[in-house]
């Protein structure tokens, strides 16, 4: 470009680009400050590591949910506002099974069925943790996935299938209706009381490990999540189903023409997406112990932020977005009080959208 061309470019520096520059400068300043705080001793290196670790853990369960949401977006063509409630469904259904199995003999059937709604089945009494009732917890995990998938498929047949031709906004609104219905049916059955379901996590503190004691529940979460994510990656890249899904998300009409059965792909989307969401819900409760009917709904905006940040239609973008969001809500604790950490994540999302309205990875050729 000639000198005059460059001059024109600088003069025309769009608002978008100015924002982008500002954001980049901001990130650099924050990184420098971080290094400074550690060097000066105001921020213990241990704490930094633990913040980064928490960020990683959070990004895993956000990521599990984000994969499903991104898939629904690109294959079913709408923003699924009931996705959060699939997470909640997974949590409630999975833990009910865990309680039914793990609490045999220790508490009444009714108490276990309703997850201690009446105070008759406390987690400690049941020894509900990964070491005390490993089988119950494992079966609960499987049940979470299976039951959530069943409910998602039922909802698809009842509601979304009738709206296949409808526009994105119509589907979005219908999904809000589904969300409310699911959430409050759970509320009617299980009551709206928040309660802890999981006994304190056993820790593992071998002498040879440099970092602090490892929380086994967290470890379970990380292990299960990573396994599932890698599984999804393998599915998308190496199986025929995966190729069909990628084709449909890229160009639906073309995929139809090549004979891909869209209903089968849609069913697969729900199975994978809802299954992952259900597992995410189950694992979140394993880690946090607290369960409420708003578990998934409160998480939904963060999941949306991750998906949009990464760019719709890109699973890997969704995962990257989850990493960014998870890290942001934890790392921001260095500078912000804990009740404002989500504000940091949402502000980041809005800023990125201002700069790159299609998301960071949109347009990249991935699943």
């Amino acid at each position: 470009m000639s000198i005059t061309g460059l001059q024109t470019r600088l003069r025309d520096l769009s608002i978008q680009e100015a924002f982008g520059l500002a954001l980049a400068v901001g990130v650099v300043i924050l990184t420098v400050d971080l290094v400074r705080l550690v060097a000066v001793g105001e921020l213990a290196f241990d704490r930094l590591l633990s913040l980064l670790w928490n960020g990683f853990v959070d990004s895993l369960y956000i990521g599990l949910a984000a994969i499903g949401l991104s898939m629904t977006y690109s294959i079913l063509r709408f923003a699924n506002f009931s996705h959060g409630d699939l997470i909640t469904v997974g949590a409630f259904s999975g833990w009910t099974v865990a309680y039914l199995i793990g609490g045999i003999g220790a508490a009444g059937f009714g108490s276990r069925l309703l997850l201690d709604a009446d105070g008759g089945a406390s987690a400690r009494e049941l020894g509900m943790n990964v070491v005390g009732s490993p089988l119950a917890i494992l079966l609960g995990l499987v049940a979470a996935a299976v039951l959530t998938v069943l409910i998602a498929l039922a909802v698809d047949r009842l509601v979304y299938k009738k709206l296949r031709r409808a526009g994105g906004i119509t589907l979005l609104i219908a999904s809000v209706g589904v969300a409310l219905t699911l959430r409050y049916l759970i509320a009617i059955v299980y009551t709206q009381d928040a309660r802890g379901l999981v006994a304190s996590a056993p820790v593992w503190e071998p002498a040879w490990l440099p970092v602090g004691p490892i929380n086994l529940h967290e470890l379970t979460l990380v292990g299960a999540a990573l396994a599932l994510i890698i599984g999804v990656h393998l599915l998308l890249q190496y199986t025929k189903l995966g190729k069909s899904m990628r084709a449909m998300s890229d160009n639906r009409d073309l995929a139809l023409v090549t004979g891909i059965s869209t209903e089968r792909v849609i069913t697969a989307t729900w199975i994978i997406g809802a299954g992952l969401a259900g597992v995410a819900g189950y694992l979140i409760v394993l880690d946090r112990s607290q369960i409420t009917i708003n578990l998934g709904w409160f998480l939904l905006l963060l999941v949306f932020a991750a998906v949009i940040l990464g760019g719709i239609g890109s699973i890997y973008g969704a995962l990257a977005g989850s990493l960014v969001i998870g890290t942001t809500i934890n790392l921001s604790l260095v500078w912000l009080p804990s009740d404002l950490n989500e504000v940091a994540a949402f502000t980041l999302m809005i800023l990125v959208l201002l700069i790159k309205p299609e998301g960071l990875f949109a347009g990249v050729e991935t699943a």
Partner: protein, 437 residues
């Protein structure tokens, strides 16, 4: 004999329908709206009386229905302006309400209170709140200019949450400024003089005072207390606001500006290629709608004496969506109608039902649904019924959810969305004759 009477009735209905068709569109709308409202009141009243509910409770219900019908009506009109007309998908309504209410709270709170305010009179607080909401709306509209519709929805939701989290946060709870402690009050909120105190204040004024005293006197004679009179007057104030806003928005819709809004919704590039400044129009309309949301929030939450973040959870935005969809997006009349239907049948209706049931059935609610189920198996359905009555709040949400889904599948345009509402200040089909609007 009966045939003739029936014949006479159907003839009269036909004649009535013809008269309705002949009226100008807006008069017909008004008749329908008022008729529906009147009918609803009648139904509530009759059913209530027949099932043994006290007059006090019935009046209470009618007031609540009117209150929420009016407040939701304002909010739905605002949301319709954004989404129904201009295609801007705003799901951050709760956030803009919060800006309006909290600004008003800070402006009118007692300077000696904690957190402190500026102690300004209510009208200034209200105007300040509305302007603040509009200003914030203008800023949030800026991203709308460049991102796609569904992303913008998420931006507005993100904004709403940022507002709510900020006002809940402990760190903004107290902000010291010299001797006084300002702030948001965190989770406990801010105390201020409620806006409905405007009514007794008005009635105390010298000129109106006489009329006020007379009114109180008549009411006392009929056994109605001052506070009830005040509440009824406040309801009238709300209705007045709705009427003014409805008429103003109708004017906006039926004008060249309204045409630009519709064109933005249909195809923005075309509007721009015809020379219309759509960016500016979007900012203006968004700010206007947000100001209206701030006003509605003030009239709603502001009529209590405490503003807390609890009232601005994102779910509040979805009540308004349901109301708008019931009425039909794109129609101002539909918005108000939908809001009233929502308030009467989905919001208050279930509670009214519960009062009736409780007055007539002996319903103790068992502690859990399991217990109720066990009783059911033992051939006793009453505990289960009792449980459901006790869970009426949650059942109401399930009902709302189901209504939404059913509407989207069978009638996505809502009750009034199918109408052709032309965006012009004159009747376009009139090729060049009179001057009727």
């Amino acid at each position: 004999m009966t045939d003739r009477r029936l014949g006479g009735l159907s003839e009269r209905l036909e004649a009535g329908r013809q008269r309705l068709d002949e009226l100008p569109r807006w008069k017909a709308d008004l008749v329908v709206l008022l008729g529906a409202v009147g009918l609803t009141y009648l139904v509530f009243g009759v059913v209530g009386l027949l099932s043994g509910v006290s007059t006090n409770e019935i009046t209470g219900f009618l007031y609540t229905v009117t209150f929420f019908g009016a407040v939701f009506g304002l909010l739905t009109l605002a949301l319709n302006l954004h989404w129904g007309y201009t295609g801007l998908f705003n799901i951050g309504v709760a956030g803009f309400m919060a800006v309006g209410v909290y600004t008003m709270a800070v402006l009118t709170a007692d300077p000696t209170g904690s957190p402190a305010g500026f102690g300004l009179p209510i009208p200034i607080g209200v105007v300040g709140g509305v302007l603040a909401a509009a200003a914030v709306g203008a800023v949030i509209a800026l991203p709308a200019l460049r991102v796609r519709a569904d992303y913008f929805a998420i931006v507005t939701l993100g904004f709403s949450e940022i507002v709510r989290l900020s006002i809940t946060s402990g760190s903004l709870r107290q902000i010291e400024f010299g001797d006084t402690v300002y702030g948001t009050g965190g989770g406990s909120g801010i105390r201020y003089t409620p806006v409905d105190s405007v009514v007794p204040w008005l009635l105390d004024l010298p000129g109106i005072g006489v009329a006020g005293d007379t009114l109180y006197g008549i009411a006392a004679a009929g056994g109605v207390s001052q506070s009830v009179v005040n509440r009824l007057l406040y309801a009238l104030v709300l209705i007045a606001f709705v009427v003014v806003c409805y008429l103003s928005l109708q004017r906006i819709a039926r004008s060249p500006f309204g045409r630009i809004l519709k064109a933005i919704r249909e195809d923005e590039i075309v509007a721009r290629s015809l020379g219309k400044n759509t960016q500016l129009a979007k900012i203006k309309v968004f700010a206007l709608g947000c100001g209206l949301m701030g006003l509605a929030g003030i009239l709603w939450i502001g009529s209590r004496s405490l503003a807390t973040p609890e009232s601005f959870m994102p779910i509040v935005t979805f009540y308004i969506f349901v109301a708008l969809i019931i009425g039909g997006a794109g129609s101002n009349t539909g918005s108000v109608a939908g809001a009233f239907v929502f308030a009467a049948f989905l919001w208050e209706g279930p509670r009214f039902l519960r009062t009736i049931l409780r007055a007539n059935l002996d319903t103790r609610s068992p502690p859990t649904i399991y217990d109720a189920g066990v009783d059911l198996l033992a051939a006793d359905p009453m505990p289960l019924v009792g449980y459901f009555i006790g869970s009426l709040d949650e059942l109401r949400w399930v009902l709302i959810g189901v209504v939404l889904v059913v509407l989207m599948i069978y009638r996505p345009n809502g009750l009034f969305g199918d109408r052709k509402e032309i965006a012009a200040a004159v009747d376009l089909s009139n090729r060049g004759g009179g001057s009727n609007e």
